[in-house]
Point group: C2
Chain length 209, copies 2
DNA sequence: GTCTATAACCGGATAGAC
DNA sequence: GTCTATCCGGTTATAGAC
Protein backbone atom coordinates (compact mmCIF):
# COMPACT_ATOMS: atom_id res chain seq x y z
CA UNK A 1 0.00 0.00 0.00
CA UNK A 2 1.52 3.29 -1.12
CA UNK A 3 1.38 6.33 1.13
CA UNK A 4 -2.12 7.56 0.50
CA UNK A 5 -1.63 10.94 -1.12
CA UNK A 6 -4.20 13.57 -0.46
CA UNK A 7 -4.90 14.03 -4.16
CA UNK A 8 -5.83 10.38 -4.42
CA UNK A 9 -8.13 10.71 -1.47
CA UNK A 10 -9.80 13.73 -3.04
CA UNK A 11 -10.22 12.01 -6.39
CA UNK A 12 -11.78 9.02 -4.73
CA UNK A 13 -14.19 11.18 -2.76
CA UNK A 14 -14.97 13.24 -5.84
CA UNK A 15 -15.62 10.13 -7.94
CA UNK A 16 -18.21 8.90 -5.46
CA UNK A 17 -19.94 12.28 -5.39
CA UNK A 18 -19.82 13.00 -9.13
CA UNK A 19 -20.97 9.54 -10.19
CA UNK A 20 -23.89 9.67 -7.83
CA UNK A 21 -25.03 13.26 -8.29
CA UNK A 22 -23.70 14.21 -11.71
CA UNK A 23 -21.62 17.22 -12.65
CA UNK A 24 -24.27 19.74 -11.65
CA UNK A 25 -25.61 18.00 -8.58
CA UNK A 26 -22.25 17.33 -6.97
CA UNK A 27 -21.23 19.69 -4.14
CA UNK A 28 -17.65 20.73 -3.45
CA UNK A 29 -18.46 20.87 0.26
CA UNK A 30 -19.54 17.23 0.25
CA UNK A 31 -16.40 16.18 -1.59
CA UNK A 32 -14.25 18.08 0.91
CA UNK A 33 -16.09 16.44 3.82
CA UNK A 34 -15.69 12.97 2.32
CA UNK A 35 -11.98 13.60 1.81
CA UNK A 36 -11.65 14.93 5.34
CA UNK A 37 -10.50 18.41 4.35
CA UNK A 38 -12.12 21.78 3.69
CA UNK A 39 -13.20 23.54 0.52
CA UNK A 40 -10.22 25.90 0.39
CA UNK A 41 -7.77 23.02 0.28
CA UNK A 42 -9.85 21.34 -2.35
CA UNK A 43 -9.54 24.43 -4.53
CA UNK A 44 -5.85 24.67 -3.75
CA UNK A 45 -5.28 21.24 -5.29
CA UNK A 46 -7.74 21.32 -8.19
CA UNK A 47 -8.54 25.01 -8.78
CA UNK A 48 -12.09 24.60 -10.12
CA UNK A 49 -14.92 22.10 -9.97
CA UNK A 50 -14.62 21.60 -13.71
CA UNK A 51 -10.95 20.59 -13.50
CA UNK A 52 -11.67 18.15 -10.70
CA UNK A 53 -14.54 16.72 -12.69
CA UNK A 54 -12.37 16.13 -15.74
CA UNK A 55 -9.60 14.58 -13.70
CA UNK A 56 -12.02 12.14 -12.12
CA UNK A 57 -13.59 11.19 -15.42
CA UNK A 58 -10.31 10.71 -17.22
CA UNK A 59 -9.28 8.27 -14.54
CA UNK A 60 -12.62 6.43 -14.55
CA UNK A 61 -12.71 6.07 -18.33
CA UNK A 62 -9.15 4.91 -18.41
CA UNK A 63 -9.87 2.06 -16.03
CA UNK A 64 -12.97 0.99 -17.93
CA UNK A 65 -11.42 1.17 -21.39
CA UNK A 66 -8.38 -0.85 -20.36
CA UNK A 67 -10.52 -3.56 -18.91
CA UNK A 68 -12.98 -3.88 -21.76
CA UNK A 69 -10.58 -3.63 -24.68
CA UNK A 70 -8.23 -6.14 -23.19
CA UNK A 71 -11.03 -8.68 -23.22
CA UNK A 72 -12.25 -7.75 -26.70
CA UNK A 73 -8.81 -8.40 -28.18
CA UNK A 74 -8.27 -11.86 -26.69
CA UNK A 75 -7.82 -14.42 -29.45
CA UNK A 76 -9.45 -17.45 -27.83
CA UNK A 77 -12.04 -19.58 -29.62
CA UNK A 78 -15.38 -17.93 -30.29
CA UNK A 79 -17.40 -19.42 -27.43
CA UNK A 80 -14.73 -18.70 -24.85
CA UNK A 81 -14.28 -15.22 -26.23
CA UNK A 82 -17.99 -14.43 -26.02
CA UNK A 83 -18.34 -15.97 -22.59
CA UNK A 84 -15.39 -14.05 -21.16
CA UNK A 85 -16.68 -10.85 -22.73
CA UNK A 86 -20.03 -11.28 -21.02
CA UNK A 87 -18.46 -12.18 -17.71
CA UNK A 88 -16.06 -9.25 -17.83
CA UNK A 89 -18.74 -6.70 -18.77
CA UNK A 90 -21.15 -7.96 -16.14
CA UNK A 91 -18.58 -7.84 -13.38
CA UNK A 92 -17.17 -4.51 -14.45
CA UNK A 93 -20.61 -2.92 -14.44
CA UNK A 94 -21.69 -4.69 -11.29
CA UNK A 95 -18.73 -3.34 -9.32
CA UNK A 96 -19.23 0.17 -10.69
CA UNK A 97 -22.85 0.58 -11.75
CA UNK A 98 -22.51 4.29 -11.10
CA UNK A 99 -20.30 4.90 -14.10
CA UNK A 100 -22.62 3.46 -16.75
CA UNK A 101 -25.60 5.20 -15.23
CA UNK A 102 -23.69 8.43 -15.00
CA UNK A 103 -22.48 8.34 -18.60
CA UNK A 104 -25.98 7.57 -19.80
CA UNK A 105 -27.35 10.58 -17.97
CA UNK A 106 -24.58 13.09 -18.40
CA UNK A 107 -24.13 12.51 -22.09
CA UNK A 108 -27.71 13.58 -22.55
CA UNK A 109 -27.35 16.97 -20.91
CA UNK A 110 -25.75 18.49 -23.96
CA UNK A 111 -22.30 18.51 -22.35
CA UNK A 112 -19.70 18.07 -25.04
CA UNK A 113 -16.97 17.31 -22.51
CA UNK A 114 -17.74 13.65 -22.05
CA UNK A 115 -17.51 12.47 -25.68
CA UNK A 116 -14.31 14.45 -26.17
CA UNK A 117 -12.80 13.04 -23.00
CA UNK A 118 -13.79 9.52 -23.98
CA UNK A 119 -12.33 9.82 -27.45
CA UNK A 120 -9.15 11.28 -26.03
CA UNK A 121 -8.83 8.38 -23.61
CA UNK A 122 -9.28 5.94 -26.48
CA UNK A 123 -6.76 7.76 -28.62
CA UNK A 124 -4.22 7.83 -25.76
CA UNK A 125 -4.33 4.06 -25.78
CA UNK A 126 -4.00 3.89 -29.55
CA UNK A 127 -7.58 2.82 -30.20
CA UNK A 128 -10.12 4.04 -32.73
CA UNK A 129 -13.87 4.12 -31.91
CA UNK A 130 -14.58 1.90 -34.91
CA UNK A 131 -12.22 -0.73 -33.49
CA UNK A 132 -15.02 -2.29 -31.45
CA UNK A 133 -17.27 -2.94 -34.41
CA UNK A 134 -14.54 -4.16 -36.74
CA UNK A 135 -13.26 -6.60 -34.13
CA UNK A 136 -16.73 -8.04 -33.61
CA UNK A 137 -17.22 -8.28 -37.34
CA UNK A 138 -13.94 -10.11 -37.82
CA UNK A 139 -14.72 -12.63 -35.09
CA UNK A 140 -18.13 -13.31 -36.63
CA UNK A 141 -16.61 -13.71 -40.11
CA UNK A 142 -13.97 -16.13 -38.83
CA UNK A 143 -16.72 -18.19 -37.26
CA UNK A 144 -18.60 -18.34 -40.56
CA UNK A 145 -21.25 -15.99 -39.23
CA UNK A 146 -20.87 -13.22 -41.80
CA UNK A 147 -24.63 -12.90 -42.11
CA UNK A 148 -25.03 -11.71 -38.53
CA UNK A 149 -25.42 -7.94 -38.20
CA UNK A 150 -22.59 -6.87 -35.89
CA UNK A 151 -24.51 -3.80 -34.77
CA UNK A 152 -27.48 -5.76 -33.47
CA UNK A 153 -25.04 -8.19 -31.95
CA UNK A 154 -23.28 -5.41 -30.07
CA UNK A 155 -26.56 -3.77 -29.02
CA UNK A 156 -27.85 -7.08 -27.69
CA UNK A 157 -24.66 -7.79 -25.79
CA UNK A 158 -24.46 -4.38 -24.17
CA UNK A 159 -28.17 -4.19 -23.41
CA UNK A 160 -28.39 -7.61 -21.77
CA UNK A 161 -25.32 -6.98 -19.62
CA UNK A 162 -25.75 -3.35 -18.68
CA UNK A 163 -29.45 -2.74 -18.33
CA UNK A 164 -30.29 -5.17 -15.51
CA UNK A 165 -27.48 -3.75 -13.41
CA UNK A 166 -28.14 -0.05 -13.84
CA UNK A 167 -31.89 -0.52 -13.61
CA UNK A 168 -31.54 -2.36 -10.31
CA UNK A 169 -33.32 0.31 -8.26
CA UNK A 170 -36.35 0.11 -10.53
CA UNK A 171 -36.35 -3.63 -10.91
CA UNK A 172 -36.27 -4.10 -7.17
CA UNK A 173 -39.61 -2.32 -7.12
CA UNK A 174 -41.06 -5.05 -9.31
CA UNK A 175 -39.04 -8.06 -8.22
CA UNK A 176 -38.59 -7.37 -4.53
CA UNK A 177 -35.41 -6.04 -3.01
CA UNK A 178 -33.91 -9.43 -2.14
CA UNK A 179 -33.60 -10.53 -5.71
CA UNK A 180 -30.23 -8.98 -6.52
CA UNK A 181 -28.72 -9.84 -3.19
CA UNK A 182 -28.63 -13.52 -4.04
CA UNK A 183 -25.00 -14.32 -4.86
CA UNK A 184 -25.92 -16.46 -7.81
CA UNK A 185 -27.67 -13.69 -9.70
CA UNK A 186 -24.60 -12.77 -11.75
CA UNK A 187 -23.81 -16.39 -12.48
CA UNK A 188 -27.31 -17.19 -13.67
CA UNK A 189 -27.47 -13.96 -15.63
CA UNK A 190 -24.14 -14.76 -17.25
CA UNK A 191 -25.39 -18.10 -18.44
CA UNK A 192 -28.70 -16.70 -19.65
CA UNK A 193 -27.03 -14.04 -21.78
CA UNK A 194 -24.56 -16.45 -23.31
CA UNK A 195 -27.24 -18.93 -24.26
CA UNK A 196 -29.53 -16.26 -25.62
CA UNK A 197 -26.88 -14.62 -27.79
CA UNK A 198 -25.48 -17.89 -29.07
CA UNK A 199 -28.84 -19.29 -29.93
CA UNK A 200 -29.70 -16.02 -31.65
CA UNK A 201 -26.59 -16.35 -33.78
CA UNK A 202 -27.12 -19.90 -34.94
CA UNK A 203 -30.81 -19.45 -35.45
CA UNK A 204 -30.08 -16.72 -37.98
CA UNK A 205 -27.37 -18.81 -39.55
CA UNK A 206 -29.66 -21.78 -40.10
CA UNK A 207 -32.28 -19.56 -41.70
CA UNK A 208 -29.88 -18.34 -44.36
CA UNK A 209 -28.50 -21.72 -45.37
CA UNK B 1 -58.45 21.32 -28.82
CA UNK B 2 -59.40 22.60 -25.39
CA UNK B 3 -58.51 26.11 -24.29
CA UNK B 4 -54.89 25.70 -23.34
CA UNK B 5 -54.87 26.32 -19.60
CA UNK B 6 -51.84 27.97 -18.15
CA UNK B 7 -51.30 25.12 -15.70
CA UNK B 8 -51.05 22.69 -18.58
CA UNK B 9 -48.56 24.93 -20.32
CA UNK B 10 -46.46 25.10 -17.15
CA UNK B 11 -46.55 21.35 -16.63
CA UNK B 12 -45.48 20.76 -20.19
CA UNK B 13 -42.58 23.20 -19.88
CA UNK B 14 -41.62 21.74 -16.51
CA UNK B 15 -41.68 18.19 -17.86
CA UNK B 16 -39.20 19.11 -20.58
CA UNK B 17 -36.89 20.82 -18.11
CA UNK B 18 -37.10 18.21 -15.34
CA UNK B 19 -36.65 15.22 -17.62
CA UNK B 20 -33.59 16.77 -19.22
CA UNK B 21 -31.89 18.24 -16.17
CA UNK B 22 -33.22 16.20 -13.28
CA UNK B 23 -34.78 17.45 -10.09
CA UNK B 24 -31.68 19.29 -8.93
CA UNK B 25 -30.49 20.62 -12.25
CA UNK B 26 -33.83 22.04 -13.36
CA UNK B 27 -34.25 25.82 -13.01
CA UNK B 28 -37.54 27.50 -12.18
CA UNK B 29 -36.50 30.48 -14.32
CA UNK B 30 -36.09 28.25 -17.37
CA UNK B 31 -39.48 26.66 -16.79
CA UNK B 32 -41.08 30.09 -16.47
CA UNK B 33 -39.42 31.24 -19.68
CA UNK B 34 -40.51 28.12 -21.57
CA UNK B 35 -44.06 28.64 -20.35
CA UNK B 36 -43.96 32.30 -21.30
CA UNK B 37 -44.53 33.64 -17.79
CA UNK B 38 -42.36 34.79 -14.88
CA UNK B 39 -41.18 33.04 -11.77
CA UNK B 40 -43.66 34.71 -9.42
CA UNK B 41 -46.60 33.38 -11.36
CA UNK B 42 -45.02 29.97 -11.43
CA UNK B 43 -44.91 29.99 -7.63
CA UNK B 44 -48.43 31.34 -7.48
CA UNK B 45 -49.68 28.24 -9.28
CA UNK B 46 -47.41 25.56 -7.81
CA UNK B 47 -45.98 27.04 -4.58
CA UNK B 48 -42.64 25.17 -4.53
CA UNK B 49 -40.32 23.45 -6.95
CA UNK B 50 -40.93 20.18 -5.13
CA UNK B 51 -44.69 20.37 -5.66
CA UNK B 52 -44.28 21.14 -9.34
CA UNK B 53 -41.83 18.26 -9.64
CA UNK B 54 -44.25 15.81 -8.10
CA UNK B 55 -47.12 17.03 -10.22
CA UNK B 56 -45.11 16.55 -13.38
CA UNK B 57 -43.95 13.08 -12.40
CA UNK B 58 -47.38 11.90 -11.39
CA UNK B 59 -48.63 12.86 -14.81
CA UNK B 60 -45.70 11.27 -16.66
CA UNK B 61 -45.95 7.98 -14.76
CA UNK B 62 -49.66 7.89 -15.27
CA UNK B 63 -49.27 8.10 -19.05
CA UNK B 64 -46.57 5.44 -19.13
CA UNK B 65 -48.35 3.00 -16.83
CA UNK B 66 -51.60 3.25 -18.76
CA UNK B 67 -49.85 2.54 -22.00
CA UNK B 68 -47.73 -0.38 -20.83
CA UNK B 69 -50.30 -2.18 -18.70
CA UNK B 70 -52.92 -1.96 -21.39
CA UNK B 71 -50.63 -3.91 -23.69
CA UNK B 72 -49.59 -6.41 -21.03
CA UNK B 73 -53.19 -7.33 -20.35
CA UNK B 74 -54.22 -7.99 -23.95
CA UNK B 75 -55.37 -11.57 -24.38
CA UNK B 76 -54.20 -12.26 -27.92
CA UNK B 77 -52.21 -15.37 -28.85
CA UNK B 78 -48.70 -15.56 -27.46
CA UNK B 79 -46.73 -14.45 -30.51
CA UNK B 80 -48.99 -11.50 -31.20
CA UNK B 81 -48.91 -10.57 -27.52
CA UNK B 82 -45.13 -10.60 -27.37
CA UNK B 83 -44.75 -8.79 -30.67
CA UNK B 84 -47.17 -6.02 -29.65
CA UNK B 85 -45.47 -5.69 -26.29
CA UNK B 86 -42.10 -5.15 -27.96
CA UNK B 87 -43.53 -2.72 -30.49
CA UNK B 88 -45.36 -0.75 -27.81
CA UNK B 89 -42.36 -0.53 -25.47
CA UNK B 90 -39.98 0.44 -28.25
CA UNK B 91 -42.25 3.19 -29.54
CA UNK B 92 -43.12 4.45 -26.09
CA UNK B 93 -39.47 4.78 -25.16
CA UNK B 94 -38.47 6.11 -28.55
CA UNK B 95 -40.98 8.96 -28.38
CA UNK B 96 -40.02 9.77 -24.79
CA UNK B 97 -36.50 8.53 -24.15
CA UNK B 98 -36.15 11.22 -21.52
CA UNK B 99 -38.42 9.50 -19.03
CA UNK B 100 -36.58 6.17 -18.91
CA UNK B 101 -33.24 7.90 -18.66
CA UNK B 102 -34.54 10.21 -15.99
CA UNK B 103 -36.03 7.44 -13.87
CA UNK B 104 -32.84 5.41 -14.14
CA UNK B 105 -30.80 8.34 -12.91
CA UNK B 106 -33.07 9.94 -10.38
CA UNK B 107 -33.94 6.72 -8.62
CA UNK B 108 -30.26 6.29 -7.95
CA UNK B 109 -29.81 9.55 -6.06
CA UNK B 110 -31.37 8.20 -2.91
CA UNK B 111 -34.58 10.13 -3.45
CA UNK B 112 -37.42 8.14 -2.00
CA UNK B 113 -40.04 10.24 -3.76
CA UNK B 114 -39.94 8.43 -7.06
CA UNK B 115 -40.65 4.89 -5.86
CA UNK B 116 -43.45 6.13 -3.64
CA UNK B 117 -44.96 8.15 -6.45
CA UNK B 118 -44.72 5.21 -8.82
CA UNK B 119 -46.35 2.80 -6.41
CA UNK B 120 -49.08 5.32 -5.73
CA UNK B 121 -49.74 5.70 -9.43
CA UNK B 122 -49.98 1.92 -9.80
CA UNK B 123 -52.28 1.66 -6.81
CA UNK B 124 -54.52 4.44 -8.15
CA UNK B 125 -55.12 2.29 -11.21
CA UNK B 126 -55.77 -0.79 -9.11
CA UNK B 127 -52.53 -2.53 -9.96
CA UNK B 128 -50.02 -4.31 -7.76
CA UNK B 129 -46.27 -4.24 -8.53
CA UNK B 130 -46.23 -8.04 -8.69
CA UNK B 131 -48.91 -7.92 -11.39
CA UNK B 132 -46.30 -7.64 -14.12
CA UNK B 133 -44.47 -10.80 -13.13
CA UNK B 134 -47.57 -12.88 -12.49
CA UNK B 135 -49.03 -11.90 -15.84
CA UNK B 136 -45.87 -12.91 -17.66
CA UNK B 137 -45.76 -16.14 -15.73
CA UNK B 138 -49.35 -16.96 -16.61
CA UNK B 139 -48.78 -16.33 -20.30
CA UNK B 140 -45.72 -18.57 -20.28
CA UNK B 141 -47.58 -21.32 -18.44
CA UNK B 142 -50.49 -21.18 -20.88
CA UNK B 143 -48.04 -21.59 -23.71
CA UNK B 144 -46.53 -24.67 -22.11
CA UNK B 145 -43.39 -22.74 -21.22
CA UNK B 146 -43.49 -23.17 -17.48
CA UNK B 147 -39.78 -23.91 -17.37
CA UNK B 148 -38.86 -20.40 -18.55
CA UNK B 149 -37.78 -18.08 -15.75
CA UNK B 150 -40.15 -15.11 -15.96
CA UNK B 151 -37.60 -12.82 -14.31
CA UNK B 152 -34.93 -13.39 -16.94
CA UNK B 153 -37.64 -13.12 -19.57
CA UNK B 154 -38.68 -9.71 -18.24
CA UNK B 155 -35.09 -8.54 -17.87
CA UNK B 156 -34.30 -9.56 -21.43
CA UNK B 157 -37.38 -7.86 -22.81
CA UNK B 158 -36.81 -4.59 -20.99
CA UNK B 159 -33.07 -4.53 -21.65
CA UNK B 160 -33.32 -5.17 -25.38
CA UNK B 161 -36.04 -2.55 -25.85
CA UNK B 162 -34.88 0.19 -23.51
CA UNK B 163 -31.11 0.15 -23.59
CA UNK B 164 -30.47 0.89 -27.26
CA UNK B 165 -32.76 3.90 -27.09
CA UNK B 166 -31.45 5.52 -23.93
CA UNK B 167 -27.85 4.72 -24.82
CA UNK B 168 -28.23 6.41 -28.20
CA UNK B 169 -25.76 9.22 -27.43
CA UNK B 170 -23.06 6.73 -26.51
CA UNK B 171 -23.76 4.33 -29.32
CA UNK B 172 -23.57 7.12 -31.86
CA UNK B 173 -19.98 7.54 -30.75
CA UNK B 174 -19.26 3.98 -31.78
CA UNK B 175 -21.65 3.52 -34.68
CA UNK B 176 -21.60 6.96 -36.25
CA UNK B 177 -24.32 9.54 -35.80
CA UNK B 178 -26.33 8.61 -38.87
CA UNK B 179 -27.19 5.15 -37.65
CA UNK B 180 -30.29 5.97 -35.65
CA UNK B 181 -31.62 8.45 -38.14
CA UNK B 182 -32.44 5.67 -40.57
CA UNK B 183 -36.24 5.26 -40.37
CA UNK B 184 -36.05 1.48 -40.46
CA UNK B 185 -33.98 1.21 -37.28
CA UNK B 186 -37.01 0.65 -35.04
CA UNK B 187 -38.52 -1.84 -37.45
CA UNK B 188 -35.34 -3.88 -37.72
CA UNK B 189 -34.78 -3.66 -33.98
CA UNK B 190 -38.35 -4.82 -33.37
CA UNK B 191 -37.83 -7.90 -35.49
CA UNK B 192 -34.44 -8.66 -33.95
CA UNK B 193 -35.80 -8.58 -30.41
CA UNK B 194 -38.80 -10.73 -31.23
CA UNK B 195 -36.70 -13.38 -32.93
CA UNK B 196 -34.10 -13.39 -30.19
CA UNK B 197 -36.60 -13.73 -27.35
CA UNK B 198 -38.66 -16.34 -29.09
CA UNK B 199 -35.70 -18.45 -30.04
CA UNK B 200 -34.43 -18.14 -26.50
CA UNK B 201 -37.71 -19.49 -25.23
CA UNK B 202 -37.94 -22.51 -27.47
CA UNK B 203 -34.26 -23.33 -27.11
CA UNK B 204 -34.74 -23.71 -23.38
CA UNK B 205 -37.90 -25.68 -23.90
CA UNK B 206 -36.23 -28.19 -26.20
CA UNK B 207 -33.40 -28.71 -23.73
CA UNK B 208 -35.77 -29.73 -20.96
CA UNK B 209 -37.81 -32.22 -22.96
C1' DG C 1 -53.97 36.59 -11.97
C1' DT C 2 -49.97 38.83 -13.29
C1' DC C 3 -46.27 41.70 -12.71
C1' DT C 4 -41.58 44.08 -10.50
C1' DA C 5 -38.57 44.10 -6.87
C1' DT C 6 -36.32 41.98 -3.27
C1' DA C 7 -35.48 38.94 0.56
C1' DA C 8 -33.10 34.79 2.01
C1' DC C 9 -30.13 31.34 0.95
C1' DC C 10 -26.73 28.39 -1.13
C1' DG C 11 -22.51 27.14 -3.47
C1' DG C 12 -18.11 28.01 -5.88
C1' DA C 13 -14.18 30.51 -5.46
C1' DT C 14 -10.65 33.66 -3.13
C1' DA C 15 -7.97 36.35 0.56
C1' DG C 16 -4.95 36.07 3.94
C1' DA C 17 -3.27 34.22 8.44
C1' DC C 18 -0.53 30.40 10.08
C1' DG D 1 -0.12 22.90 2.67
C1' DT D 2 -3.89 23.82 5.49
C1' DC D 3 -7.05 26.55 7.83
C1' DT D 4 -11.04 30.46 8.82
C1' DA D 5 -13.58 34.01 7.04
C1' DT D 6 -15.62 36.19 3.27
C1' DC D 7 -17.06 37.56 -1.32
C1' DC D 8 -20.10 37.22 -5.11
C1' DG D 9 -23.12 35.25 -8.48
C1' DG D 10 -27.07 32.67 -9.02
C1' DT D 11 -31.59 30.37 -7.36
C1' DT D 12 -35.78 29.69 -4.82
C1' DA D 13 -39.33 31.96 -2.83
C1' DT D 14 -42.11 36.04 -1.15
C1' DA D 15 -43.96 40.96 -0.68
C1' DG D 16 -46.70 44.09 -2.51
C1' DA D 17 -48.43 47.08 -6.42
C1' DC D 18 -51.70 46.80 -10.24
Amino acid sequence: MAIEGIKERIIQAAAAEFLQKGSGGARMQVIADKAGINKALLHYHFQTKQRLYETVLRQQFSKLIDSLFEQLEKETDFDTWLQSLIRKYLREIMTAPGLSRFVLWELNSGAKVLPQLFKKCLADKGHDPSFILTTINRRLQEEGLGNIDPVHFLLNLLALCIYPVIAKPILEQILGSGYFKAGDFIASREEEIFKLLKQGIYRQNEEDK
